[in-house]
Amino acid sequence: MIKWNRNIYRSFIIISFIGLVIVMLFGIGQALSYLNTGADRTAMLHLTLNKKPVYFPKTSWNDTINPGRPIEKQTLLDIKRDYLNAWYVRNIAYQMNTIDGVADYFTKSARKNIYKTMLFNKKENVTIHGTTINHNLHLDFYSADGQLVVISDIGVKEYQRTYKEDVVLVENKTRSNYQVMLMLEDGFWRIRHMVKKNKNEILDSTQRLSTQAKVVGDNIYVDEKEFQIKGINYYPQQTPWDMFGDYFDTTVIQKDFEIIKKAGLNTIRIFVSYEDFGKETVNSTKVNRLQQVLSSAEKAGIKVIVTLFDFYGEYSVLNWTLTHRHAEQIIRSLKDHKAILAWDIKNEPNLDFDSRGKENVLSWLDEMIDQIRVFDPNHLITIGWSDPESAALLKDKVDFVSFHYYREQQDFENVYNKLTEKIDKPLVLQEFGISSNRSLLNPFGYSEKGQAIYHQKFQENIQKRDIHYLSWTLYDFIKIPNDVSGSLPWRKQKQKYFGFIDASGNKKPAFEFISE
């Protein structure tokens, strides 16, 4: 018994000694690393900061002539970067009610104002999710020693959504002019004074000058001729949901376009993935491939609805400017392309309402429509709502209203009639179809014949009312990525058999009813 006790004492002493050593070593390590902070060169020169820009409002230097002294290109870039960062940290400060980073971009006297505002909001339990959409910078003054500038920022478009106790209270868009004095301190251009100035009326440059496609009343016109969309959603058979990837092959796509054209269709809908195309810095190879697809379509006499932001799901206000730059880079390079009929901003955004917040999604779409109108005045804009109930959302802003219908075929007429009462713009049935996935595992699914009958009946409906339509989809697919319909095998299985042509290239019975 005594021996036992002794052993317990021994081990206790040894363990506590080891523990003490560990604690001491840790303490010394912490002390050393604390003493090192701020001493390393990267921190002193702020080299590790500004690594990856996270804020991309449309910003331009409109005028840099000033009485002080000529300004260097590099300084313009530095000022622009730090000024935008100042807006970014300000936005974060009001969104999170924190002061992180504010000290880097506002001088001591200026940051007090931010702190006071932030504390006031914090006390009231108010948070403001805001972003600026654009900045038009004019240089008013640059001092001889290069340490002080005064700039004017004209027509800053700001979007703000105010939450009180996490409930959206109000949403507002403003356009303001600011005059800002910045000083070079510590390697940062910091805001010293900021004065919101008188508004002067700025004309939006969103006038539509030339249009390849337009909408008059209920009708879509292309090159001044009435256009009836008879189309199909398209992915190449081998590369569904990865059309512009490593296996991109124009000859395959060209052949498919001939099949589509021969089948009596005149439109396709394709998808551009946000991440795949490089997010805010768009990958030019991908855009080039998209351009090739469009050119092939033009050759085949097919119009294209390009769906942007596929698999995008962020929507947060602070993320807006990144998506604007994404859209700008793609759309500006394709805005004159004759093959494009319309930009579909996002596929089925209403499915994100629950997870991302309806107000987040809708305000993002709303602003994105305005953005795209500036980038491309030539083509139409729509949103691919996943159900008829959502179709009326933002109907006044889009050119035509698109919705998807995967319900019972016999209910369609009713649903469509109701929609026409609510919406006085062209209605496009942008996705519909049925999977011929009857098998032993799924005895109640449609057979290929059943699928054909489904499409036949749909075509009757379509003919009767002259409905714009795009069916889903040309091919049966062998592999479905998990992002599309989840990883559940029965869902995946279903997604494989929506095609008019099966996986080995044979036309299914439904092909006869691919168009009227």
Binding site: T117, E124, V168, N172, V195
Partner: protein, 412 residues
């Protein structure tokens, strides 16, 4: 009794129906009628720091909130009063110059929208912030410094454009004053240098507020070409004395002597075309550099440069031979070679430290070079047995420009 009871129940039910109907009707009215607001406050321009209250008149008793958007952010404020809400604008907004846009909200609906202006409060004492740079400039009137003054009110708001800013500077006997109108938050002036170097003092004044004194250094401009001279104890190439080179006073084109610390490089080219180099910094207008005399007869050409700016004339000087000849004695079976006495120009022993070089050859092949410095005019070389075996050697001995050769010396 029974009938009465029926009547009361009937009456009761009828009342209930009426009540429900009327409630529904008023509800209906309430939702139909939109809330409108009228601004009671008349002023739209305020001075910073003064209290601001916005009062509205509503057509209904509802709870409204006011969203304020000002230079530094956005806040939401509410009022307790229902039909005549009065909003006190928070102090931190009231204190800052600029336009304040506001929107009155009722249940997320915008019912009134407008803006008011806050101006810098010119009745408060002025605060001055001066920014001056560059802090040093070059004399001659091409270079300039800039004096920027940002006048603000007590609340740190830039004063309005066209505020009179008086900018002053002093240089030697000159005291200058100039009044400018502020624009884009600031008043500024460029001050070009004068022809003289020295110190420029700057200050400014806005209304009753005077700034501190700020100093700017005016450095002399680029040096003009100059001359050099030399000083030496004697003209002999004894490898022992030091020669001094000195520049004349180096001036810029305006006659300012060049700043202390400016580097002057002296380049010496000797008669065999080799370049020697020494340098000195300017102190009190001229620079001095030193160099050791050569240890053999030589002629030097010397030129000094302030690189990229000014250079001197060319100076030529020669050094005379000190040594005519020397004796060499072999001893200890020719293993000991004694050179000397080495005699200088007056027959005196050469000061210690003169180098003597011995090249040792065996069968036309140089096997070693030994150098020793003289002590009391003598140098002794020892060829140790372990390194130099017995045999036939040749020696070449040189010192201070004199060379001697000894062939076929047999070492035992």
């Amino acid at each position: 009794m029974k009938i009465k009871a029926v009547y009361t129940i009937f009456l009761f039910v009828a009342l209930l129906i009426l009540y429900v109907l009327s409630a529904a009707f008023t509800n209906f009215l309430k939702t139909e009628e939109s809330v409108t607001a009228k601004l009671v406050t008349k002023e739209t321009v305020f001075k910073a720091g003064n209290e601001i209250q916005l009062t509205f008149e509503l057509n209904a008793q509802v709870f409204t909130e006011l969203l304020l958007h000002y230079s530094y952010g956005t806040v939401l404020i509410s009022s307790d009063l229902l039909d005549k809400p009065k909003f006190s604008i928070p102090e931190f907004i009231v204190n800052k110059k600029g336009m304040v846009s506001y929107t009155l909200f009722y249940e997320s609906k915008n019912i009134y929208q407008s803006q008011f202006f806050i101006e810098a409060n010119t009745t408060t004492p002025v605060q001055l912030e001066s920014y001056i740079g560059p802090p040093s400039i070059i004399a001659g009137g091409n270079d300039y410094t800039m004096h920027v003054v940002v006048p603000t009110d007590t609340y740190d708001n830039p004063l309005p454009d066209s505020t009179a800013v008086i900018l002053k500077h002093q240089f030697l006997d000159i005291v200058n004053e100039r009044q400018v109108s502020s624009k884009d938050m600031l008043g500024w002036e460029q001050i070009f240098s004068y022809e003289e170097s020295g110190q420029l003092l700057l200050s400014s004044q806005v209304k009753e507020t005077y700034s501190k004194e700020h100093a700017i250094k005016v450095f002399p401009a680029f040096p003009e070409d100059f001359t050099i001279s030399y000083m030496r104890k004697h003209r002999y190439a004894d490898g022992n004395q030091v020669i001094n080179f000195k520049t004349s006073i180096v001036n810029d084109q305006y006659g300012n002597s060049i700043s202390d610390g400016t580097m002057v490089n002296f380049i010496v080219k000797n008669s065999s075309g080799k370049l020697l180099h020494t340098q000195g910094t300017i102190i009190n207008g001229s620079a001095v550099a030193k160099m050791l005399h050569p240890d053999h007869e030589d002629t030097w050409e010397v030129k000094a440069y302030v690189y990229g700016m000014g250079e001197s004339d060319k100076l030529s000087l020669s050094f005379a031979k000190v040594l005519e000849d020397f004796d060499v004695n072999f001893g200890k079976g020719n293993r000991e070679i004694i050179v000397g006495p080495l005699k200088s120009f007056m027959g005196q022993l050469i000061p210690d430290g003169a180098m003597v070089k011995l090249d040792i050859y065996r069968g036309n092949k140089k096997i070693e070079t030994k150098s020793e410095s003289s002590s009391r005019g003598m140098v002794r070389f020892l060829l140790e047995e372990g390194f130099f075996g017995a045999g036939n050697y040749s020696f070449k001995i040189g010192s201070m420009g004199v060379h001697k050769e000894y062939d076929n010396i047999v070492i035992q």
